[in-house]
Amino acid sequence: MRSYTPPEYLVKIDHARCRRCGRCVKGCGFGVLSMASSIWARSAELFKESAEELAQVFARVSEYAADHVVADSRRCVYCHWCVAGCPEGAISVEPNPLAYKPNHHWEPHHLKNIWLQAETGGMVLTGSGNDKAYFNYFDHLLLDACQVTNPSIDPLREPMELRTYLGGRPDALTVREGPDGKIGLETSVGPQVQIDTPIIFSAMSFGAISLNAQKALARAAKACGTLMNTGEGGLHEDLYPYQDHIIVQVASGRFGVSADYLRRAAYLEIKIGQGAKPGIGGHLPGEKVTADVSATRMIPVGSDALSPAPHHDIYSIEDLAQLIYALKEATAYTKPVSVKIAAVHNVAAIASGIARAGADIITIDGFRGGTGAAPMVIRDHVGIPIELALAAVDERLRQEGIRNRVSLVAAGGFRHSGDVAKAIALGADAVAIGTAALVAMGCHVCQKCYTGNCSWGIATQRPELTTHLDPEEAGERLANLLRGWSLELKEILGALGLNAIESLRGNRLRLRAINLHEHEMSVLGVKAAGTQ
């Protein structure tokens, strides 16, 4: 069926600068660019049933005296791989100004999706999370800073502590005094995972992203003393050397889950929900299940990997408690167990149940969270912002007197260290970053992860594309990002007159709201800017 959608972007080649090296042609995962000669052949193939059109094609062929790069703008997703990689700077991509008539009610994506669904009868898929102009609460929260009476602390001269431990904790410690007068510990605190900065990497599975991308995340996690997360794709053996810095996920599909897999983790995570698609399962198309993915996930090559929304052995909080303790048993109570849920309306009550079911860590993923593939209607209309969810959960756990028993990890669209600091002030122990990590590796958030054609070599399993990502260099970029954000966090702490991240956690007095309604400030537990 003929498509009604116009090209959204126009790809332009400056032929005077182009040296015809062909890098862009070979590297574009979406087949936008080709050498003119191949276009002729393809055109001829396309129009072979029409003699008249064929004649026109051959007429156009004559225009191309020499072989050169041509672009099929319709296929362009605006990922900018060709633009960033062209050694001559000869490629530019611009939004197509004539694609859609301006209309505040019928916006381009509405029209495009209707045409797409009219052509296919399917769900509209998308990747990389919600891009809609929903209100962003982080942008309406401001941090405090010290002035005279309470001096700021200079992070260049004083220790500034970001070290964080994730795990469940007792309410109190019991100690005993030995005969020599030395005080010894009687309480066992339980398994704790140390991270040197309160930022970890979100779950991104092998299958959704390439092995090179996972290796880059693992290298950076190790270099920065933090954690990456396998997602639900199993643990590839190339990642074994980084196992102390890896969270392994047990999701509904149970892909790659074995006793060995569990034992190799820094901590275990039961994935119930995901911010980008609460209440929705996952689907890795068979074409992405390569030999390597198949071995890691323990499923046949080429088979679709379907992870349903519900775990089919969890239909109640009691069932979840059983799985938590099954995982603790399997790892001899040496590793914390986390439960990850999406931010939904009654997330506070759910989190309370999860804490009481024995989880050591609760990860809450807000509706700005990313994903490889989600139905657009779910991504755009289901779930709530992480800021509100986090504040509500932290408050509820405190009201019940159990906040100190669990660690809280917040995720869902963190863009900079300011977001991180604000989340910690709202009550998070640590934050998990997904899209920001992908961006550090080169991702331009084209939101086409679900096609498997990522030209940056990140969200793809196509061998010719995965080589675009050098795990060593990408790992360095990620480590640099974490270092940069950590330095900024130290500056923020110093400005607040704090020298330990613990003193920012849940310290909502150091936040003020700007342009928020009373009820929103009440949920966030913050006062208005200008009040003391």
Binding site: T149, A172, T174, S503, R505
Partner: protein
């Protein structure tokens, strides 16, 4: 008129602290501490002063002495109704004061010497009578508008208000009291323009705290102790320190040395260099009590019936001097304040950042 409190107005601060303890329990007159704190007059601004005195009510040593600050007579009557419901009241009287020109518009100040009524502790489900009294204090401060129990220990009392500390001492006639331990505070308010409940010391049961500095981690600390049932109604950051000591030591049984190390923890770089046993203990302390870490500039003097503790923030942003002469131990913001009453001390030194100075009575004093 509603007084302004934390969260409503804020004024930059200085503050002065001073404390004297006779480790043999010998009682001394309140004039000495008043002279000591007056020596640091410039560190206050007349918007707050206060004293805590231990051993002042020997005739009621077994009873809780509730000092109640009431903004109206109605508030006092309401607080008294609660007191009569839960306690046997052995004596109720206005706290003796004298007119001092500098002290204007004082609230109604009463004290009650009480013991829990038979069976009430059990009915309340409290662990013991101390727990019962602590809950009672929280309840009155939280529920009775305009009434605040500012002192609730045995054989001790807190005397505080709006004014320079030397005026407050005259106002409360402290020269008529003798105590084996005195602490004093001159306030240059950080958080309020000065209201009577917001003056230091802050007290709960046996604990009283005077503080020179500001608690930057107040939001975190406050929300932490609230989980354990504490209600912060005096609306000044120092209040939380008294409750942290109460929670960690009285309720959870952590030794005082460790409580101090939880509140002013060693840095990780120091913990990492400790021998394994010690490292494990201090790591656990930080993992479990991270929300109790006090951040920001502070020098605290925390008193309880068996001794006193001096504690500085871990990067030493505020002054605290320790001195000893014979059986007397003194701590103050400035050395002059110590020498003024001690003469030449046997030992004098600055308290280091994060270093707890824990001084205990050597005997001779009833609990």
């Amino acid at each position: 008129m509603q007084t302004l409190r934390e969260g409503k107005v804020r004024i930059p601060s200085g503050c002065a602290v001073s404390a004297i303890l006779n480790v043999q329990g010998q009682r001394i007159n309140g004039e000495a501490i008043a002279r000591s704190i007056a020596c640091m007059h410039e560190r206050s601004n007349g918007l707050g002063g206060g004293f805590a005195a231990y051993g002042i009510y020997p005739e009621f040593a077994d009873l809780y002495a509730l000092h109640v600050l009431c903004e109206t007579e109605q508030a006092r009557l309401e607080a008294e109704t609660y007191i009569n419901r839960d306690f046997e009241v052995h004596r109720a009287e206005p706290i003796p004061t004298r007119q001092v020109p500098a002290i204007t518009d004082p609230p109604i100040l009463w004290r009650y010497f009480v013991a829990a009524k038979e069976g009430r502790v059990e009915q309340e489900g409290a662990a013991d009578d101390r727990d019962f009294v602590a809950r009672f204090v929280m309840r009155v401060n939280n529920r009775v508008p305009g009434a605040f129990i500012v002192s609730s220990g045995k054989n001790m009392g807190v005397f505080k208000g709006v004014g320079f500390p030397e005026d407050i001492a005259r106002f409360y006639r402290l020269n008529e009291y003798e105590a084996y331990m005195w602490t004093a505070h001159g306030r240059f308010p950080t958080n309020t323009p000065g209201w009577w409940g917001g003056a230091h010391p802050f007290n709960l049961l046996d604990w009283s705290v005077v503080h020179n500095g500001e608690v930057s981690s107040y939001g975190t600390n406050r929300r932490y102790v609230e989980m354990f049932g504490y209600r912060l109604e005096l609306q000044t950051d120092t209040e939380v320190v008294a409750y942290l000591f109460d929670l960690l030591h009285r309720r959870q049984g952590l030794p005082l040395s460790l409580v101090c190390r939880a509140l002013a923890s060693p840095f990780w770089q120091e913990i990492d260099r400790m021998p394994p046993d010690e490292r494990e203990l201090f790591t656990a302390l930080r993992q479990v009590y991270g929300p109790a870490l006090i951040n920001g500039p502070f020098s605290f003097i925390v008193s309880h019936s068996r001794g006193m503790i001096g504690l500085n923030d871990r990067i030493k942003l505020r002054p605290l001097i320790y001195a000893r002469k014979g059986d007397f131990v003194l701590m103050a913001s400035e050395q002059s304040a110590l020498c003024d009453i001690l003469g030449e001390p046997d030992e004098v030194r600055a308290v280091w950042g994060g270093e707890p100075i824990i001084v205990e009575l050597q005997g001779g004093v009833a609990q």
